[in-house]
C-alpha cells in the first residue's frame, strides 16, 4: 500500500507491533517463566519441596483415590452452559476416564479424571460432554495432598503458565484468541522486520551504545531480533500450532460427518473401542501392564520409565489402558502401548510415527519441554528473555523516534506509549515480584489465600500503570519518564525481599538449598537475585543519566550567569 514493499512492511511492523507488542511482552515473559513452572510451584508451596518421584503403584495407590475425587465446580458451571437440561448432582457422577502422570521435575503425581455426563450438547457438532476433576498424589504418603495443599495456588503451573497462553481472560475464551492474534503478529513482525532491516548481515554483530540513543536502541532491537530469529520464529510457530485446532476449527465445523466417519475408521484400525459397551467391568492389574510395557521398551532398545497411565472407558467392559513412556531423553513424545482393561492383554502398540506427525511431535515437544536436559532448558529460558528484550527495545525505539516530533506538535502519543511500555516491562516485573513476596508473607490459613495472591498481582500491575501515567509527562515534552528508574528500584527491592521472605518463612536460604543440591528452590532464588541486581543496576544508570541531563538542561537554560556561579 505504501510506495515500496519495504515501506509496507515497515508500516505493518510498526503499527501491528505497537498494537499487540504489549501483550507479546507478557506472553514471552510468562512463557519464559513457564519453562521453570514446576520449580516455581515448589517455591510457592514449600510443603511440596521434595525430590521428584516416580509413579506409584496404580492398583494400590491410584485406584483407591479415584472415588474420592469429584468434578471441579468451575468445570461443572462451564459444562452446564454447554448442554441441554440440568446436570445430574455431582455425587452421582462416576469417573469414566483416568489419567495419572509424573515427570522428572515433579514430586507430585498429577491425576486428572473425566466424568461422562448424560446431557446432550447444545452444539450438535460437539460430542457428548464431559466434566473434569483433578488432584495430586503425594508419593511419600500414597495419599491425596492434604492440609488444604490441593487448594493452594501453584503459581508456576496454575498462574504463570495459563497467563502465557490465555492471559487469564476466560470470558468467551477471549484470552486464547488474543494470544493467537498476538502470536500471528509476532510471526508477521519477524518477517517484516527482516524485510525492512537494511544491513542485516553487515550489522549482524553490531551494538553501538556510544552512539545516540535512537541508534543504540535500534541496534539492540535488531540484534536481539536477528540473533535469536530461529528461536523466536520456531517458538512462536510451535505455540500457535498447539492451539491451531482451536483457532481454526473449520474441519470440525464444516465437515463433521466426514471427520466422524474417519475417526471411526481410524479407531477400527487400532482396535481400540471408541465407545463404552454400557456393561460394568472390573479392571485387571494395571501395575502388571506397566511392567509389561517397560519390558517391551527394553526389548526394543528404548528402556525407560512409565511417564503416564490412562484408562479410557473406566468401569466398563470396553475399558482399555494406555501406558506412555516418560520421554526424558528426547524432544518429541512417542511410545504408547494400549492394553485391554479386562484381560491386561496387549491391544495395540502405536506404530513408528509417520513424517508429518513426527514434525508435529517435535514442534509440540520443543514447546512443552518435558525432556530432561537442564542445559537446553536454561538456553530456552534465556531465549524467551531475549524475545522480551527485543519487544521492549521496539517500544523504546518507537518512543525515542517520535517523542520530539510529538512534543513539537503537542501530541501525547509517545508519552502514552511510553507509559504503556513501562507498565508492560517494569510494571509486569514489579507485579510478579510482589506476587512472589505475597506468596511467602500472607498467612496460609488466610481465607481465599489464592485469590489474595492473584488480586495482589493484578492490583500491583494496575498501580504501576497509574504510576507510569503520572510520571510520563516529561516524555510529552521530549524528555524521559522517571517511572522506568523508579520501577526498576521497586523490582530490585521486591525481588530481594521475596528471596529473604523465602528464607525467613521456610528456612530454605541459598546456602542450604545449594548445599542440599535442591535446585528447584535454589534456582528460583538465584534468578530473582540476578533480576534484582540487573534491575538495580539499570535503575542506577538511569537515575545517574537523568541527573546528568537535568544538570545539563539547567546549565543550558541559564548559560551566562549559571556557569560563572558554579
Amino acid at each position: 500500500m505504501r510506495e515500496t514493499f519495504r515501506q509496507s512492511m515497515a508500516y505493518l511492523h510498526t503499527w501491528l507491533g505497537l498494537a499487540l507488542g504489549f501483550l507479546l511482552m507478557v506472553i514471552f515473559f510468562f512463557g519464559s517463566l513457564s519453562v521453570f513452572d514446576r520449580e516455581i510451584d515448589r517455591w510457592s508451596i514449600p510443603e511440596t519441596r521434595a525430590p521428584a518421584a516416580p509413579l506409584p503403584s496404580f492398583d494400590k495407590v491410584v485406584l483407591p483415590i479415584v472415588p474420592s475425587v469429584k468434578p471441579d465446580a468451575d468445570d461443572m458451571a462451564r459444562a452446564a452452559a454447554e448442554v441441554i437440561g440440568p446436570l445430574p448432582p455431582v455425587e452421582t457422577l462416576r469417573a469414566t476416564g483416568i489419567w495419572v502422570g509424573s515427570n522428572h521435575r515433579d514430586p507430585l503425581v498429577r491425576m486428572f479424571l473425566e466424568f461422562d455426563i448424560p446431557n446432550k450438547p447444545v452444539d450438535p457438532n460437539q460430542d457428548h460432554g464431559h466434566v473434569h476433576g483433578n488432584t495430586a498424589i503425594d508419593p511419600a504418603t500414597g495419599q491425596r495432598l492434604t492440609g488444604g495443599l490441593e487448594d493452594r495456588l501453584a503459581i508456576g503451573t496454575r498462574f504463570f503458565f495459563p497467563m502465557h497462553f490465555m492471559l487469564h481472560v476466560e470470558w468467551a475464551m477471549l484470552g486464547y484468541w488474543i494470544v493467537g492474534l498476538a502470536g500471528m503478529t509476532m510471526l508477521a513482525a519477524l518477517v517484516s522486520g527482516v524485510v525492512m532491516h537494511r544491513r542485516i548481515f553487515r550489522e549482524f554483530f553490531t551494538f553501538r551504545p556510544e552512539k545516540n540513543r535512537l541508534r543504540s536502541t535500534l541496534d539492540l532491537h535488531n540484534m536481539t531480533g536477528v540473533l535469536a530469529l530461529p528461536f523466536l520464529f520456531v517458538i512462536t510457530f510451535s505455540g500457535l500450532l498447539i492451539f491451531a485446532d482451536f483457532y481454526v476449527p473449520s474441519v470440525t465445523k464444516l465437515m463433521r460427518p466426514l471427520e466422524k466417519s474417519q475417526e471411526t475408521a481410524e479407531a477400527g484400525r487400532t482396535g481400540l473401542p471408541e465407545d463404552p459397551a454400557g456393561q460394568p467391568g472390573q479392571l485387571a492389574s494395571v501395575d502388571k501392564m506397566m511392567s509389561d510395557a517397560k519390558a517391551r521398551w527394553a526389548e526394543r532398545g528404548v528402556p525407560g520409565e512409565v511417564g503416564f497411565v490412562s484408562v479410557t472407558h473406566f468401569g466398563d467392559v470396553n475399558a482399555y489402558v494406555t501406558v506412555g513412556r516418560d520421554n526424558v531423553d528426547r524432544v518429541a513424545t512417542q511410545e504408547e502401548i494400549h492394553f485391554n482393561g479386562m484381560t491386561g492383554e496387549l491391544m495395540y502398540e502405536n506404530p513408528p510415527t509417520r513424517p508429518i506427525e513426527a514434525v508435529k511431535g517435535f514442534l509440540y515437544g520443543l514447546h512443552f519441554q518435558h525432556f530432561k536436559h537442564w542445559g537446553l532448558r536454561w538456553l530456552l529460558f534465556v531465549g524467551g528473555l531475549i524475545g522480551c528484550a527485543c519487544i521492549a527495545t521496539g517500544f523504546l525505539f518507537f518512543v525515542e523516534k517520535r517523542k520530539r516530533k510529538h512534543a513539537a506538535a503537542g501530541s501525547i502519543g509517545s508519552s502514552v506509549v511510553d507509559a504503556l511500555a513501562v507498565t508492560s516491562v517494569t510494571g509486569m516485573l514489579v507485579a510478579t515480584a510482589t506476587m512472589m513476596l505475597a506468596n511467602r508473607v500472607l498467612p496460609v490459613d488466610l481465607p481465599a489465600h489464592d485469590t489474595w495472591q492473584k488480586s495482589i498481582f493484578w492490583f500491583t500491575w494496575l498501580a504501576t500503570l497509574v504510576h507510569a501515567g503520572l510520571r510520563s509527562k516529561p516524555v510529552a515534552s521530549g524528555g524521559a519518564s522517571s517511572a522506568w528508574a523508579e520501577q526498576c528500584w521497586a523490582v530490585a527491592a521486591l525481588a530481594t525481599m521475596a528471596v529473604l521472605a523465602n528464607w525467613v518463612t521456610t528456612g530454605d536460604h541459598l546456602l542450604k538449598t545449594l548445599s542440599d543440591g535442591y535446585w528447584p528452590v535454589a534456582g528460583v532464588d538465584i534468578v530473582m537475585l540476578i533480576a534484582a541486581a540487573a534491575a538495580g543496576g539499570t535503575a542506577y544508570v538511569l537515575s545517574r543519566r537523568s541527573q546528568f541531563f537535568t544538570a545539563a538542561a539547567r546549565e543550558m537554560s541559564a548559560p551566562a550567569v549559571g556557569s560563572q556561579n558554579v
Partner: protein, 106 residues
C-alpha cells in the same frame, strides 16, 4: 567427556566460528585489528572457516544428545555464541574509545 563438557566445547567452537564471521566483516576487522592487512584472512576464507566451525559445533552437540535434541541445543548455542561475539566487540569498542572520549570531555 561428560555431556556438559561436550556442550561447553560446542559453545566454544561456535563462538570461534561466529568470531570468524564477525572478522569477515570489514567494519569489525577494522574495529578489532585496526589497519592490519587481511593477508590470508580473506573474508571468504573466514566465512568458509566460520561455517565449518559451526558445523563442527553441531557435530559435537550430537555427541552429547540424540540428533533432534542436538538440533535444538545447537540452534540456541549459535544464538548465544553470536551474542558473546557481539558483546566482545562492543566492549572492545568501548574500551578503545574511552581515551578519545575523555579527551573530548576535557
Amino acid at each position: 567427556m561428560s555431556d556438559a563438557g561436550f556442550l561447553l566445547a560446542a559453545l566454544l567452537t561456535a563462538i570461534i566460528g561466529m568470531a570468524c564471521f564477525a572478522l569477515s566483516i570489514d567494519t569489525h576487522w577494522a574495529q578489532l585489528l585496526g589497519k592490519r592487512e587481511r593477508a590470508i584472512a580473506h573474508p571468504l576464507t573466514l566465512r568458509v572457516g566460520g561455517a565449518a566451525l559451526l558445523a563442527i559445533a553441531f557435530f559435537i552437540c550430537t555427541m552429547a544428545d540424540p540428533v533432534l535434541m542436538a538440533v535444538l541445543v545447537w540452534t540456541m548455542l549459535l544464538t548465544m555464541a553470536a551474542f558473546v561475539v557481539a558483546l566482545a566487540i562492543t566492549v572492545h569498542a568501548r574500551l578503545s574509545a574511552v581515551p578519545r572520549r575523555d579527551h573530548r570531555a576535557e
